[in-house]
Structures are given as C-alpha cells and as structure tokens.
Symmetry: D2
C-alpha cells in the first residue's frame, strides 16, 4: 500500500500517522518528494482500512499495491480451482452448462425440462424455488415445495441441481441441493455469505448489478474466510445507461477475473440480455471469452406457446446452441469431461 | 398499462394474449394501427408481470401508465406522510437532522458526540453497531454492545436513536431503537424488508448504489405491504463513472420523489461524497432541493486528531453548518418544530 | 407513437395538442381509459419531437413505436448492407480484420506493421495520423505526414487503409484513404457527420463512450441522410463504474444492433479493454457474438521492447489470434472472402 | 507520479523504463519493497503519458500525484478567477443568472423573453441559434439569423448574450456574442476548443454527459493553453441508469471543482432534469452547493399555452425563483453585484 502525504502537513499529524501504521505491524518506507512524501507500507495490508486513511486531511492519495483479498487471489494460489459438483468438474479446462427454467412450476414441468436439457448435453439443472421479486405483489416461488421438485428431477435425471437461497433461516432446506446460488441482489448480504461459507457446499456467487469485480472477489473472500473455497463466480450483466438490453453483459470480466483469481467463472446470458434471441450469440461469445461455463434459462410449456419470445430458450433452440458450443470448445482448449 | 402488439403476429397468439389479460380481471381497449395494435389495459395492473409480457414474441413494447406501487404512491395518498420519531416529526414542513459517528466505539465517545450534536441542534442520534463491510477482515461493529451504548446515549440526551439492522435474527436487539435503518446494500434484501415491516417502527430506507428511484419505492412498498407506513426514504449517492467523489449524490431525487410519493426524503451527504469538506455545501444544497432532513456523520475523538479530514465533520464544523441550515430553512418553508 | 394524456387536463389543452398533431400530417387514434387517454399517432413520426411532447403538462408519457431512424432501420431495409472497401466486403457473411498501430510513427514502422499483419491474414490497415488526446500537451499525431505514410503502406501491401478524421477542414487530405473513421468523442459531432456523409466513402463510426445504441444509429442516420449508406458501426466499450478494464465492452450490442439495423458491426477489443492480454479472448468473444469484423492494435517497434504489455498485440500474438479466428468463423457462418 | 514495478521483471526492462523516464527530464526516487518497487517521479509530469506506462508488462500500477492540468489548477493559481462578461463578474463572491429560451425563434420572442428575465433580475441572456440535435430530421436552429436576433435583444436590454458554437467555420458570426458556449457533446471536440481558445472571449464549457470532472478540467486546459483563461465551467447532468430525470445532476461537482480549480462553476438545472417543476428546487440546491451561477431556460410564447410543462420555466415561475435565490445568496456569501 502506498500513501501519498502532503509535505504541508503538521509534523505531529505526520508522526501520528506513521506511528499508527507501525502499530498495525507494518513497515514503512519513506520517499520524500518536493511537494509530497510517499509512504510505502510493507507487510500484510489486507486488514488496513483504506477509506479511513484516504479521509485524512494530510493524505493526498492512497493506493493498494496488494489486492485486499487473499484466498481468492491468484497470486497466492496460482493454480485454477476446479470445483467438483457431484462429479462434474468446473474450472481449469472443464466447461459445464447449467440449464433449466426460471422458476420451478410443477413436477411435470421441471422433469420435462430436465430431461430435455440433459438430452442436449446440459450437465446441471437450474430452477428457482425462492424468487427475489422487485414487487411484493409478484409470485415469490414455490419455496420448499420447489426444492422438493428439484430433488425429484435430480433423482430422475442424475443432474446436480443449482438453486437460489434468500433467507439464512431456510438453509436447512438446501441439504440435498448441489450448488447454492447467491443472487445478484444478495452479493453483499454479508450475513448470508458467512452462512453459506459454513456449509462447505459449492456456491454460485452472482455479481451484483452495480458491483465491481473487486467487490465480487471480496464477497467470494467472505465465503472462503469460512473455510469454503468451492466458489463459482458468475457474471450476469451490470447496470448501465443502455436500455436496448436489460443489463450490459460485461464479458471482459472473464479475462480480467482469470487474471486476478483462480476461481471458475461462468456467464448468465439469459438474465443479462433479457431477450431470448440474444442468448445464443452471447453464449458463443462467452465461450470465446474463456468462461468456464454457462447458466441458461430453458423452458418447455406447450400451454404458453405465445411465450416463445421470453428470455428463455425452448428445448430446440437450446439443442442447436449446444451443438455450436461443442464445436467451439476445442478452439479455446476446454471440454465437458469430468465425470 | 399499454401493450403494443405487432400486426404481423398469428391470430391465435394474439387471442391467447388478450384472453390471458382478461383472465387477470382487466379490461382491454384495442386501437389498431397500420403496423401494430395498441392494447390499453384498464383495471388494477399493479400485479401484472411486465417482464413476462415484454418477452412475448408478438409484443413490441409494454409501458406502464400506472406505477407498480400503491401504498407509497402520492396519487392514492396525496397528503405528505409525517413520520413521528419519539415526538420529532419528519415530512411535510418538518425538517430534522440526524447526526452522530459512523461507528459506536465506546460509551465515552457516543455520549460525548450525542451531547455535542444536541447542543448544535441535531434532533436525532445516529451510530453504527452492526457494520456491513466489504472485507471480511474489517471491523464489523460492536454489535449488541453498540446498541446498548446507543440506548445509554438516548437516556442521557433524550435524542431518539437511528441504527442499522443487517440480520433478521438480530431484530430483538432493536426494541428500544427508535428508527431501524436498512442500508444501501440491503435495499433489495426483501426478507429483511418484510421483517422490519412487521415491527411497525419508523424505518430509514437507504437507496441502493445502483437502484432506480422506482425500485426504491418498490422496496418501501415491501415494508408498507406489511402494514407499516412509517418509512423515511434516504438518498445517499449512486454509483457512476465519476471518481472525484465516492458516489454521485443524486439530489434531483428529492423533487422527483416528492412528485411520486408522500413519504419523507432525507439526504446523507457524508457517505455520498466521502469527503468532509464537501459535506457542508451538499447539506445546504439538500435543504435547497426541498429534502425533509439530513443524516450527517459527526465524530469527536481527541486521540485521533489526525483524522479530522474524514467524511465526518467535527463538532465545530457541524455547529457552523447547523447555523446556516437554520437560516436557510424558512426560505424553503421548513422548520424543526414538531415536539 | 403513443401519447398518454391525463384525463384531468383542460379540454382546450387537449384540443390544442390533437390539432397540433394533425397539423403535422398525422392521424390520431383515441382510446379513452379511466384516468388517462391514449393517443395513437399513425403516419411518419420520425420528425416528431418526442422531447417537446413529453414536456407538456397534460402528457403522462410518450413512447415511440416506430424507431426515429429510417435509412439505418432494418425494418425498411431487411437485407444486410455489405460495405465494399477496395474489394474487401464487410457485412452479411463477410468478416474482415483491420489491424495496425495506434499511431503512425515512421515509414519504417508503418510498413513493417502492415507487412506483418498482412502475413497473418489482416485485410485492412489502421493507423492514427490525427490523434484526439485528452491533454493539450500530449502528442497529437503526425497529421498530414501520417496520412502520406499510410498511403505508402497501402501501395506496398495492397491493404486498404482506415484512419480518423477530426477536423472538417482536413477532409481533402483523406482522398486516398479507403475508410474514414469517426472516433468515439466525435460520434455526436454532427457537423463532421454531415461532412463525411457527403464524401460517399465508407465510414467507420465508433460508438461514443456514453452513447446508447439508438444514438449510434441516429448518428449513422446523419451520414446516410447525406446519401452515403456505406457505414460500418463499431462498438469500442462504454463508460461504466468498473475500473478493472478501461471501458466495458458491450458485446450484446452486436445481436441488438443486428436486430435493429442492416449495417455491419465491428468490434475494437484493444481500446475497450486497454490491456493487451485481454484482446485475444475478447476478439474470440466478438466472433462468437456474430460481429462482422475486428479492429485490433498491433505494433512492432524493437526499440520499445519494454512496451510489450501495451493494449497493442505484437505480431506473434496477432498471428496466433488470427489462427483461432480462422477456426472459429465457420461455426458462426462467416468467412474472409470477398475480393 | 508514482509507478509500481513488479520485482519479477527482467532487469533490462526495468533499466529501460528508468532510463526513458530520465530522458523526459524527470528525477526518479526508488523505494524497493518485497514484491514490488515504487518509483517516485519528481519534476513536471504533466506531459508524461500515463496510459503508455500503465500498459507496460512490468508495471503494476501508475498513479498521478500531480494533476495533469496546470493553468486550470488551483494549486498553481490559488485565487478564484473572476470572469468579466460585459461588466458582469462571475466567480469569487459574484453570482450571475443566465436565462432565456432554448431556441431563438423570432425577434418578438427573444426580445419579450429578454425583457421578462431582465425584469426578474437575470443578468445575461441565453438562446440557441445553432442547435445540436440527435436526429438529422429535427430543427437545427435559425443559425446566423438567430445570432442577429440575439444581438438585437442585447441592444434592447443591455444583457450580455450567451450562445452555442458548433462548427469552427462559423466563428466569425460570433464577434458580438459575449460568451461562446461549448455544448456537452463537443466537450472533447478538441479542434473546436483550440479555436475558441484563440478568441480570448469568455467561454462557457459544459461538461459532457459521460465525462469526468478531470476530463472537464483537461478540456478547459485546451482553451487556456491557447492563452484564454476566461473559462466558465458548467455542470449540466451526467448519464446514469436513473430514468426519472433526463440526466443526473451531479451537484457534488461544485465543491469538488472548487477544490481543484480557480475557475467559476455554474449549473444548468433545466437540461439536467428535463422537467420544469424540478428546476426551481435544483436551482436553490445549486445556490446551496456554492455554485457561481445558473443558466436557466425561460420561454414566453402565448400561442403554445399547452407547452407550460416543458423544461422551461415561464416568466412568472422564473420571477418567483429569483426572489428565493436573492434571499439565499447572502447565506452562502454571494451576491449579484459586479457591474
């Protein structure tokens, strides 16, 4: 960490600052310039409060040299983490596709979709049981019953299941869930992060709509600080001024995260674009970017034939997409194997 | 709600859509144009899922005419809500100033700050006991002990207290707290919103960093849907590309919210700018904008004399600011009275 | 265009509005609801000032059904435009790669880079002669001399050349330039757009840092309104809160633009990410997204060996990338042919 | 400027970098840490290309200590610049209000508005003659005729006039214009900035929709580098995700800019909010923030009575606002005097 101190400050203030840093167990290297002095802090600075220091009158600027995350940091763990989900491996050279409906609606529905996506090559099943909704008047999911239906679909197809947890008091319902999803709105619900950290289960951590990649890694660090390093990061679009898509899918996050962390990164092209016909091109773009997997909405409800335009693909569209993904994976050095 | 349907769609799809809308108990007015047809939905559309309809193949656009919030909507409740916090009124012509330290650190500290801000005219005391921190390694607050110290300061000074709740399982500790704060990161933690809705206490609801004003009103609606209409909205800066301030304080939110809702709106100039010397001008700007109050960080720790530049004002700076606020309030038709 | 009028308005205001619309040569369909009335405007609404109408007291909302652009609109021109640049075709199934240095520095440099990128399969040469720089003290390019050096490189290699125009008074220097680039900062320099519209040359129009896709199409419309439909759109990253990359490359722009316009779209992965090691993954992602081409910075200056980390690839990195692009193109149904 | 170099780099690369810095006439202070080395650059670093250095393989981070602007920098010119516009002073303790219609429409209109705003206390007249419009099909202003009408209104009322220049080739038409406005879309049209820098006239420089405050100061620097220090900065809203106002007025820009520069700063509450009823509260907020003036749209067209809701105030609304501004100015230590 580097602190730039104004030379115009009072000596007592300067001495207080240096003493306080040393009290934190850090060494200080001083480099005095014409109008300012640079303090180089050497040691473990991950616990130093950068906001506090930035706010001091005598400080011009503070800049971290070390990142504030350790467990998630590739510098300290250069080898790719490969998360094992019921035998499916994700990370390193292993690429997985999670597919399924937005919400679990009925046994018939979830089993039909599970069979369909499995036939096309999906390797995990997703489905919402607890749904975070902007409006208190909107459908909030089948809750516990939804989890039970997912478990039935898992037994039927063998696909591991991925579903979202909203309330720490519901965690016991997730014992047979393979991957617990933390949604974008809860990325900084630190109480929830600590709780899922204690489970030891694979966690799918979605980036918040307005969170930086560094904040995403800090939230992963919350989970890992509880001893759980089975974290899968997920980019699902950020909020910008553009309105032609629901959110702006930030695919550069893939190489940027790969640079900073050893954790696997998957992409959600369905929620980010919000438009079904953009899901296939953005899925292929994700493969090109070096992502470790995809999480895609697929629905299968013949009664809602008029609903074909949703952000969900139908099974035929998903099947066609999977064909292209399989052709593209070898070019980027990835494969589905891992069972 | 207006739905624009492509004329090129199949008749069966169109009929399905119209029938489905009627099943929701709504009337449909049809206006057929050259290349598209406009459906006007008449009735209570607040429960209609706009995302679902937008996603239909045959739909070009959907546009709400009615807002999706009811309890918070000024149309249905034209009179300003005046929230009563232990005798202090906020909203309408009543303006209040909440002041206090970022974190409660010790009995000595919180009581000293409480006495200081009261002397300058602050009408409520703030202080963090449970602190949401980006890093799992940072200080997370004195928790239950912090709440107890706030209650002591309340007894000492008579100032009502405002403090943040993070975990629904801690709610019993907040019985003697006058205003429960929901922080920016939890604005869409719907489980927490439902829980504080049940308390009937005044709730200070902070806007999330990347949340629209409409989403803020939808989160207020979650609290109000539980029967609690004692909601104080708080603008505290949004995330933009600008880096010279920590966040971008969106003061236009004040007249915009006043237009849409009857709930009181206060401003947090400390967290939004992150820089103490910007707090006073932005406080006066807030008064000019028509806000119903301010929540300002004030600290008083002689041992950290070098910390004067923080986002916190010291008591002397706060006192000077309060003097100007008192001069300015009559120009905008507001006053502190209300006890 | 749909206008929602409050029923509470005065009749004279309402009548004034309807009369004014009819004076514009449009038909008005009226659909009266409980609290508001919907006016459906039928006819050519591309010249109606939506801002003016939105601002009327009696108007709740205005919503375009038709887009405000005509020449660029796929609805009116469903077939992909294929721009012909000295025999190279771009658009439809044709994919091209423009490569070259950020700035033209010397004859030796530009010819060496041109030969190198041609050997790897690049089909056009880029290089900056007039450089827009944030600082008035930074190097602003070789200007006219730079253009001459590009023309020499074109003669040497046969590659068509692409370079940026900043000042309408410099346009005569661009006679032998094959593609005139309008940079991101000038996307809404409407005087410049009109001027390049008159040239009839292919124009590479870069999206502004904070411009929506609709604004990009409106700027294309400026060029096309002068009779020049040889417009190539370019996504080069937008400004967001994320700082780990220089800008946020908005790849969803590709399917979104393909949906709305027949014009070709290319991607600039160099300026958007600002980091050389992210250029290759984002180039492959661009191919996956369905883009019609890439514009990539490649440099070759042995004297600045320490500069290898720039946003520019070196020739070896570019060659490796081109190998992967060639493998990937058939999967998305594209090819380089077209001479 | 501080450069953090990885210790893992090759010695030759490191030596190349240090040598290159010294060639720029700068001293280098070296502070070697465990995993990285900090280079402190001493001397005039305003011409050093930070992007180039950031991009080097061996560089972890670069951070400016000195700002890249000199003429606009308060450090080098601590005293407030007071711009003199035909006898009206702006900056320091002097506050001015520029008012007038969006577009000049006719002699009758501009003279009527000029007389009205003068009667209420406005001290300068604004009006658009050249209008930058998103659509090529929208009205682009009366151009030269509009300038002539403004000059007539100036003769009639004595109010100095402010109007926008779009095309460097029109500059001769602006001889009798008192303040040349550079609009938001042209903030980084560097050719135009250089040209108005040469005029020596007061320049009103509007912040671009997606430009940082530092970029605004760099654009001011372009004008000042030509010898013209009569620059008035203008905040007019930035582009964010919020849609309830047209743009997000960034009022914290006022104290932030006051901190960094000696130039005066005014606020445009009309374009930023886009809604007339928000203009008055945001004007008072601007006064509170410490701004040096306002630029407000006022119209007066009895034929368009239905247009009252526009972003423009009518003369009565403007008059009421001016009354409140006059009451508020003494509280922030400002006044209108200066003729």
């Amino acid at each position: 960490m580097i602190i730039v101190v104004k030379n115009a400050c009072e000596k007592s203030q300067y001495d207080n600052l240096v003493e306080w840093i040393k009290d934190l167990g850090l060494d200080v290297h001083v480099s005095r310039g014409e109008t300012s002095t640079v303090l180089g802090l050497v040691g473990d600075t991950s616990r130093v409060d950068i906001d506090l220091i930035s706010s001091l009158d005598i400080v011009e600027q503070v800049k971290r040299v070390q990142e504030p995350y350790k467990n998630a940091n590739r510098k300290f763990n250069p080898t790719d983490t490969i998360v094992n989900v019921g035998g499916r491996k994700i990370g390193g050279n292993f690429f997985q596709v999670v597919a399924g409906p937005c919400s679990v609606e009925s046994e018939e529905q979830i089993i039909a979709v599970a069979n369909a996506v499995k036939a096309s090559g999906a390797t995990m099943l997703r489905g919402g049981a607890f749904k975070p909704r902007t409006s208190p008047y909107a459908f909030q999911g089948l809750k516990g019953t939804g989890i039970e239906l997912l478990i039935k679909a898992k037994k039927e197809t063998g696909l591991p299941i991925v579903t979202e947890l909203l309330n720490i008091n519901d965690i016991d319902l997730f014992n047979e869930v393979d991957v617990i999803q933390i949604g974008a709105r809860n990325m900084q619900n630190f109480e929830l992060l600590k709780e899922v950290g204690k489970t030891g289960k694979p966690i799918l951590l979605k980036r918040g709509l307005a969170n930086t990649l560094q904040e995403l890694l800090m939230s992963a660090e919350y989970i890992m600080a509880e001893g759980n390093n089975q974290v899968i990061l997920c980019e699902r679009g950020i909020r910008t001024f553009e309105t032609m898509t629901r959110n702006t899918l930030d695919l550069s996050a893939v190489p940027a995260l790969k640079d900073k962390t050893h954790l696997p990164i998957i992409i959600d092209p369905s929620h980010s674009t919000g438009i079904a016909k953009y899901v296939s091109p953005m899925s292929l773009a994700s493969v090109g970017s070096g992502a470790d997997g995809l999480i895609i909405e697929v629905h299968n409800d013949p009664k809602k034939a008029w609903c074909d335009g949703a952000q969900s693909l139908n099974p035929a569209q998903f099947d066609e997409l999977m064909g292209k993904i399989k052709l593209m994976l070898p070019i980027v050095g990835k494969n589905f194997d891992g069972e």
